[in-house]
């Protein structure tokens, strides 16, 4: 081993400029690969952030407008989801898949505290929603079952809504335990949640029973959310959605295949699709990166070819005194693998550093889209798996780059090699 490296070192030392130029091409290739993949991950993290924000096995349905005439009724009719739909979904027809069903009712309101006021959407919720939507509390608690049972007037506010009700520079937590006015009634603030850019910033949660009673909602609901299990593939999900749609639609005298009558938002299949898009982006980035890397490999291969040509006489001497073809091949291969590996690692290191730098700069900045602050890059980095993959790519690349020159060198007959000058 040490002998091989001594040989490589001798060869590299004799060809400093050539080696560093080739090395630069390899470093650049790997650098681009890492930065592209890192930036790609950052983009995906930023845009698909919602993906892991919810329990992924939930489905939500809500009312819409019919798009077909059916059962003697005209199209364009409004469909309202109601308590009977909850019963239907909870019922035997879907029992194999459905776990827990909860509903919300909501209404737009104005909240005020002292002199300050803000508008919000007041949602009547069940305690289970916290888990289903992975709602993160900053302080206090979420709605609980006692709130539901006693129809308490309590509210959980998002951080920025709470801040909007307080004097400038105060902490959202200061509102905990205070009473604020929402509409005609006074509510006790029991919890503060993280503001949610995806879902809107002004969703305040109150007990389902309280809102239903105060606003006299009757049987109508805003949406129904349920968790499910046993639907592993996209196809299984689609079939389930179709059945669900047909059942709910028929109950509202809408065509069973009318996609507009109710909407179904399946977070599981949405996640699947997001993952698919993510995978496609990843593949695209790998391809771009690999092509950049290919440039480096061609460079190494070329350099090794020139090296072989220059060293033909030397190889002749080695063969004359007993070097076997494999000894020569080994020499060339080891040299090209070493060059690619060393410079590849430099490129990888710099690439990772650049990802860090991106995180520190672009990663901290946001763009404004429709009043929402959206981060452009979130945690742009590559994982250990990618580092390992890149290492394998490097070694393979180095071997390929060295293979042709090495075989060429090994094939030259000793007498011809000795004749070469």
């Amino acid at each position: 081993m040490r002998d091989i490296f001594t040989e490589i070192w001798e060869s590299v030392r004799r060809n400093k400029l050539r080696t560093s130029l080739t090395g630069f091409a390899v470093s650049w290739g790997i650098f681009m690969l890492i930065v592209l993949l890192g930036a790609g991950n950052g983009l995906q993290n930023a845009f698909f952030k919602g993906g892991d924000q919810f329990a992924s096995n939930t489905m939500m349905i809500g009312g819409g407008y019919t798009s077909k005439a059916y059962d003697g009724l005209k199209e364009g009719r409004r469909i309202s989801i109601d308590d009977k739909d909850v019963k239907l979904i909870e019922g035997d027809a879907f029992a194999t898949n459905v776990e827990q069903v909860i509903a919300t009712v909501s209404t737009g309101e104005t909240a005020s505290y002292g002199k300050k006021s803000t508008s919000l959407t007041l949602e009547g919720n069940y305690p289970e929603r916290q888990q289903m939507e992975k709602i993160e509390l900053v302080a206090g608690r979420y709605i609980n079952s006692k709130d539901i049972a006693a129809k308490r007037k309590v509210v959980v506010l998002p951080q920025n809504t709470a801040e909007a009700l307080l004097p400038a520079f105060s902490q959202a937590q200061d509102l905990l335990g205070r009473h604020i006015k929402i509409g005609q009634f006074s509510y006790l603030v029991v919890g503060i949640t993280k503001s949610d850019r995806m879902m809107g910033n002004n969703m305040a949660a109150a007990p389902f029973s309280t809102i239903k009673t105060i606003y006299n909602k009757g049987e109508d609901l805003d949406d129904i959310t349920f968790t499910f299990h046993g639907l592993k593939t996209e196809k299984a999900n689609e079939e389930f959605e179709e059945q669900l749609r047909a059942a709910v639609n028929l109950r509202h005298r809408a065509a069973p295949d009318d996609k507009r009558a109710i909407w179904i938002w399946n977070r599981f299949s949405q996640n699947l699709q997001m993952n698919k898009v993510g995978a496609i982006i990843n593949v695209a980035l790998w391809i771009i990166g690999l092509f950049t890397l290919l440039g480096g490999i061609v460079g190494v291969s070329n350099i090794m070819l020139i090296t072989v040509k220059e060293r033909t006489h030397e190889f002749g001497i080695r063969k004359a005194i007993g070097a076997k073809p494999w000894d020569i091949t080994k020499l060339i291969l080891a040299e090209s693998v070493t060059i690619t590996a060393v410079f590849g690692y430099i490129g990888m290191f710099l690439g990772m550093l650049t990802c860090r730098l991106l995180d520190k700069t672009l990663g901290q900045s946001t763009v404004s889209i429709m009043d929402d602050q959206i981060a452009m890059l979130v945690n742009p980095s590559v994982g250990l798996d990618v580092a390992i993959e890149a290492t394998i790519v490097l070694i393979v690349a180095g071997s390929i780059a060295g293979l042709f020159p090495a075989r060429k060198a090994a094939r030259v007959r000793p007498i011809e090699a000795l004749r070469a000058e």
Binding site: D3, I317, K319, A320, I321, K324, P325, D327, R413, P414
Partner: protein
Amino acid sequence: MLIELKDVNKTYNNGQPLHVLKGIDLSIDKGEFVSIMGASGSGKSTLLNILGILDNYDTGEYYIDGRLIKGLSEKQAADYRNRLIGFIFQSFNIIGFKTAVENVELPLFYQGVSRSKRHEMAMEYLDRLGLADWATHYPNEMSGGQKQRVAIARALITKPKIILADEPTGALDSKTSEEVMQLLGRLNREEGVTIIVVTHESGVANCTDKIVHIKDGLIGRIEDNRMHRASVFGADTIMK
């Protein structure tokens, strides 16, 4: 017989076919000090390359120690060259970016001898050839005679049965040439190595015990030269 050639033919086929060896019959015994002499272009180098398994022959038979050398794989040929044969070339053929001692070590490297062992042996051989002080010098710091002695040390280090030298004095002045030839003679006497020297200089041939004349691809006269009287210029001089 250590070396036996029977009706060996060799034709070069690049462009115009050139029949260089036209049926060589030659036997060389263990411990002989032989020169192969002939005019330039008579096929001496071609013959020596075949003897050294650096090149193939077309027809005939070639035995070393009773082993037929024909149709060997590159790997096998390399192994034979490594263990049986030591080469000395006109142009030295030592590797420029390696020091004297590294050059001498190289054949042992291909035998898989450990680092320290082969270094020790290489130093020993350099010392015997009076080059101990030059061990860490690079070839471009040495004179022609010194380089050729490095090459001789490298040829000897594997303790080969046969040493093949193609115009070993071709690039040396007459004084150095003589020294090199005397060195080869001493090695032959003291170690009993079989040495075959190719030359076109009668003075060089005169240093050997047997002179094989080659002409137009055929073996001609074989002279017993144990008295070293073949050269008209006397026993101990090489005229350049």
